[in-house]
């Protein structure tokens, strides 16, 4: 990639980042530009992904090489588009039927095995190996099993939750709250990491080899907000006089 393109890329990246962050101060036309560009660029990006990575190699190339079998999935896929024409939308059912059957066949056995049977096994197995476990591991296994039972009970609605049942259900809520707390803490850390990533890029683009892209764009935004603020103040004063 030539140096000119690197610099142009840095200016676009720094500019769009600053424009989008400027919304935190207040809504402005630069934010709107970045927002609309994002939507447009996203659509364009996915269009070229579908054309060059799916339609081309998976449909067009096999057809050119006389691999006619590819017509079957291609027609099933195209049938989904008939959803947009009410009179022939029934054709799309064939495509959806295939998708449903294929998806269910793949997902149900794997889901049952991985997320259901293995997890039940993982909860029960340690209880059968306590003789060889450390006291801490035993406590851990019992806590997990107890937590699973309490949380499952919280979601069991065929028994009225009162008396002792309510206590078990409430303990389940505490387990859930601990999980949500941990998840939220991690979410905060993740968001900060993403923000750090953008700031790190802004710092990179502030170098002289990128012609001080970050500083110039930031200064431009500050000047815009200052002028805009002054003009608005002038307008408000004029309205107050009138």
């Amino acid at each position: 990639m030539s140096e000119t393109w690197m610099i142009a890329g840095a200016w676009i990246a720094a500019g769009l980042t600053v424009f989008l962050f400027s919304f935190l101060y207040k809504d402005n036309p630069f934010f709107k530009i970045a927002e609309h560009l994002y939507l447009g660029a996203g659509m364009g990006w996915w269009f070229q992904v579908y054309v060059y990575n799916i339609l081309g190699p998976k449909v067009w190339t096999p057809l050119v090489n006389h691999d006619w079998m590819v017509l079957i999935p291609a027609i099933l896929g195209l049938s989904l588009v008939t959803q947009f024409v009410p009179k022939i939308s029934w054709v799309s059912r064939y495509g959806f039927t295939f998708l449903m059957g294929y998806g269910s066949g793949l997902a149900i056995p794997a889901g049952l095995s991985t997320d259901f049977i293995s997890q039940i096994g993982g909860t029960i197995r340690p209880l059968s190996m306590m003789a060889s476990m450390t006291p801490w591991a035993i406590f851990n296994s019992l806590l997990v099993a107890f937590g699973v039972i309490c949380v499952l009970f919280y979601f069991f609605f065929s028994v009225e939750h009162k008396g002792h049942f309510k206590k078990v259900s409430n303990i389940g809520v505490y387990f859930l709250m601990i999980y949500f707390g941990a998840a939220f803490g991690n979410t905060v850390m993740a968001r900060f990491s993403l923000l750090y990533g953008r700031f790190d890029d802004l710092y990179t683009f502030s170098a002289s080899k990128y012609l001080y892209a970050t500083q110039i764009i930031l200064a431009g935004m500050i000047i815009y907000f200052a002028i805009h603020g002054l003009m608005n103040r002038g307008k408000k004063q004029a309205e107050a006089v009138n």
Binding site: A110, G111, S113, S118, N186, F192, F199
Partner: protein, 274 residues
């Protein structure tokens, strides 16, 4: 009088908090403080140990499925794990099921292999983006080349030295899935559990707690979570990178959040009981 003054704290313009957070995150980038990352979590250690124990020449399949939206967290993880694999002289194959990953994969392999004198085609191979991950994963179980007959540069995958002896999952020593999507779940469900291939994951901090059950049952051999996980892995391979440099900012930002939570709660207590 004091209560009225304290009440003003809750009416503070939130843009001041944004500015404070920006300063706290940005300052260590300009001038690193060098706060140490002293703890290595158990799951990161397991991930490291698993790769570390693989014999040289083993084939490790990297599934790098993240785009620029999660780059700050996942890119340092991918760089650290690829570095570790090259250090251990493992053969590296790279696949992706997220179209936006291709550029980021290119970034890694434009620089990292040269550091270890690794050659494209002999020591590592990058396969092109494929849609419909689950179908691809299922197909690879019977014939790897039924899906990946050519590498990213259009070379015949069967003839590449790095692919010698690789036909299906039986010949793959390990799968590393670094993703900001549910791709790791697919690797566990459709490959790890089904074909007994060890799977190690690298995920965003947000999704990290959800993988606890897979770790407890051994369905996942190790897990790296977020930028902190990347920093831990970098310190294990003794190659500080973007994960380590981000720890300063993250620590300070977390301290700021703690300070704000504590301050506001103390003020609330004062307002309520004084």
């Amino acid at each position: 009088m004091l209560k009225e003054k304290l009440q003003k704290f809750f009416k503070i313009d939130r843009r001041w908090i944004f500015l404070l957070l920006a300063v706290v995150l940005f300052a260590p980038i300009i001038k690193p403080i060098g706060l140490p990352n002293k703890t290595i979590s158990r799951d990161v250690q397991h991930a490291f140990d698993y790769i570390d124990k693989l014999p040289a020449g083993s084939f490790v399949l990297f599934s790098l499925d993240y785009d620029p939206a999660t780059r700050p967290e996942l890119h340092p993880q991918a760089v650290a794990m690829v570095r570790h694999a090259f250090k251990k002289n493992l053969r590296v194959g790279v696949v992706t099921y997220i179209a936006g990953s291709t550029g980021l994969i290119g970034q890694i392999f434009a620089t990292v292999p040269a550091e270890y004198k690794k050659v494209n085609g002999s020591d590592y191979v990058i396969f092109p983006y494929m849609a419909n991950a689950v179908a691809v994963m299922t197909q690879m179980a019977s014939d790897f080349y039924g899906i990946y007959d050519k590498d990213q540069d259009g070379r015949d995958a069967r003839t590449l030295p790095v692919m010698q002896g690789i036909k299906n999952y039986k010949n793959i020593a390990m799968i590393v899935s670094i993703t900001g999507t549910s791709m790791l779940d697919y690797w566990v469900a459709y490959v790890g559990d089904k074909f007994s291939v060890p799977v190690v994951g690298g995920v965003t901090a947000i999704s990290q707690p959800g993988y606890g059950p897979y770790l407890q049952t051994g369905q996942l051999k190790g897990l790296i979570g977020g930028m902190k996980g990347a920093a831990e892995y970098e310190s294990l391979i003794k190659e500080p990178g973007k994960g380590t440099s981000g720890i300063d900012s993250l620590n300070l930002a977390h301290l700021l959040v703690l300070a704000l939570i504590l301050t506001s709660n103390i003020i609330l207590l004062i307002i309520k009981y004084l």
